[in-house]
């Protein structure tokens, strides 16, 4: 599953030990450039920078990056095509500025998606969630999100195991059986999630949990050279775009 692949890439990335705040600043800068600068050359430069950083210094596997970006590309292609098709009295045709509009839409969206994917493939969610506290998100909400993140993998494993067992019993042969199996699969995953939460609660209550799930996060100090890159790269892309335009 791609989701696990993106998470595994984040844990195995050469940037795993870098401060999540530094990486957030870099990717936010690139996302901002992708959104606000003209597609040519702004989005092209953002896309190239994000891919080069991910596959170069961050050492994200090219196959993982390529597979993950297929999903947004499918939406971008259908959405952009729909946006530039004109339906009038004469039937279906292209809008007058179809090529320019489609190019601009695709450019902004691909560059932005690549910048978000750079963050996703270099920073595990468990490093990003504590950063939400800095944005003044309530501790209880961050804790719920943290439990959600940890349980997602447990439930995905349950989902895979149950589905395999159903498939071995011809549970996914034909639409009728598939729907029945999907319903039973969803119910089994839900009751397992309740059961798992209840047993975790019992275990934590036995250890005296009263005020929340306190964990010791990894110390990932900020780096001045990386911070300089995080500020200089978006600034450089902006300056170059303004000069070329």
């Amino acid at each position: 599953m791609t989701g696990l692949a993106v998470d595994e890439a984040a844990w195995g990335s050469a940037w795993r030990g870098r401060s999540p705040g530094d990486k957030l600043l870099l990717c936010a800068g690139l996302v901002g450039c992708a959104l606000l600068l003209p597609a040519w050359p702004g989005s092209v430069l953002v896309g190239l920078a994000a891919v080069a950083l991910a596959l170069g210094p961050a050492r994200v596997p090219a196959r993982t990056f390529g597979r993950a970006i297929r999903w947004p590309l499918a939406f971008i292609a259908i959405g952009a095509l729909t946006a530039v098709v004109a339906v009038g009295d004469g039937g279906i045709g292209w809008a007058p500025d179809a090529a320019a509009r489609a190019g601009s839409l695709v450019g902004h969206a691909v560059a932005g998606s690549a910048a978000v994917l750079l963050l996703a493939t270099t920073t595990p969610m468990s490093d990003l969630l504590p950063e939400l506290r800095r944005l003044r998100v309530p501790a209880a909400v961050v804790e719920v999100a943290g439990v959600t993140y940890r349980l997602v993998f447990v439930l995905l494993e349950s989902l895979g195991t149950i589905r395999e067992a159903q498939a071995a019993r011809m549970g996914w042969a034909g639409p009728r059986r598939s729907y029945r199996s999907a319903g039973m699969l969803a119910a089994a995953v839900l009751t397992r999630s309740w059961d798992r939460a209840r047993r975790m609660q019992d275990g934590l209550a036995g250890r005296g949990m009263e005020t929340g799930l306190r964990v010791l996060p990894d110390a990932l100090p900020s780096s001045r050279p990386f911070l300089a890159l995080a500020l200089a790269l978006p600034a450089g892309i902006t300056a170059l775009t303004l000069v070329v335009r």
Binding site: G3, G79, A83, A120, V141, E143, Y149, V154, V189
Partner: protein, 229 residues
């Protein structure tokens, strides 16, 4: 069907974020209150969020020949109520953006408005109205879950139509264009997700009746009184 990163103009992305913010903040306040009063709820709420994420990973056979993924917010809205789903749905969208590359960060507000606000509220309202009209649990679940999915798709189409209006046909023409293109996958998916909801609740009424009673979805079964022989 999530709007990809960078697809919406900056003004629209900001506008939809501001529109979703009060609902998500209301959901966050409800979660904070619940966790403060019952710290053990953290785990149950986390499990509900994880279930919503995982439900979107179940493949449903589609009449178009391929397979589709349910949104997962319809059953969640019926089980856990729309305010909680506004927050949990937004958390799930954030995870989908960063774990699956579905959606984005600047489009998180627009996707949250469609997926975590309009979908759950429309689905929950349809479920309650259908039950109030005298229908049983399973027909009401079908209507609620299918409508949650349809409302999400209509809202996303509206967001795209507002962002990219057609010069000749205006907003209405553009909306019809986006609705028509996405209807090919979304209408069969809404019906499929409604059926999945019915099958899910049918199993839950047998295997997890106490939980459904605790959530207020089923009335507690009357306790049989022992009669003298």
């Amino acid at each position: 069907m999530h709007i990809a990163e960078g697809f919406l103009p900056a003004g629209h992305a900001l506008g939809w974020t501001l529109a979703a913010a009060p609902f998500v903040a209301h959901g966050a306040r409800a979660v904070v209150k619940e966790v403060r009063e019952n710290p053990e709820s953290t785990l149950l709420l986390g499990a509900a969020g994880a279930f919503t994420f995982v439900l979107s990973a179940i493949k449903l056979p589609s009449i178009t020949g391929s397979s589709s993924h349910p949104t997962g917010t319809g059953p969640g809205a019926i089980l856990f109520r729309p305010p909680v789903m506004a927050l949990l749905g937004t958390v799930v969208l954030l995870f989908q953006a960063l774990l699956l590359a579905h959606g984005g960060l600047t489009t998180l507000g627009a996707n949250a408005f469609a997926f975590a606000v309009v979908g759950p509220w429309a689905g929950y309202a349809a479920y309650r109205l259908t039950r109030a009209a005298g229908a049983g649990l399973l027909p009401a679940v079908f209507v609620g879950v299918a409508l949650a999915d349809l409302a999400t798709y209509v809202t996303t189409s509206l967001q795209l139509a507002l962002a990219f209006p057609d010069a000749s046909t205006g907003l209405a023409g553009t909306l019809a264009k986006f609705l028509g293109v996405f209807a090919v996958t979304q209408i069969p998916l809404a019906i499929g997700e409604g059926l999945l909801g019915v099958l899910l609740f049918r199993v839950l009424t047998v295997n997890a009746r106490p939980e459904l009673e605790r959530l207020g979805i089923l009335k507690p079964a009357p306790v049989p009184t022992g009669g003298a022989a």
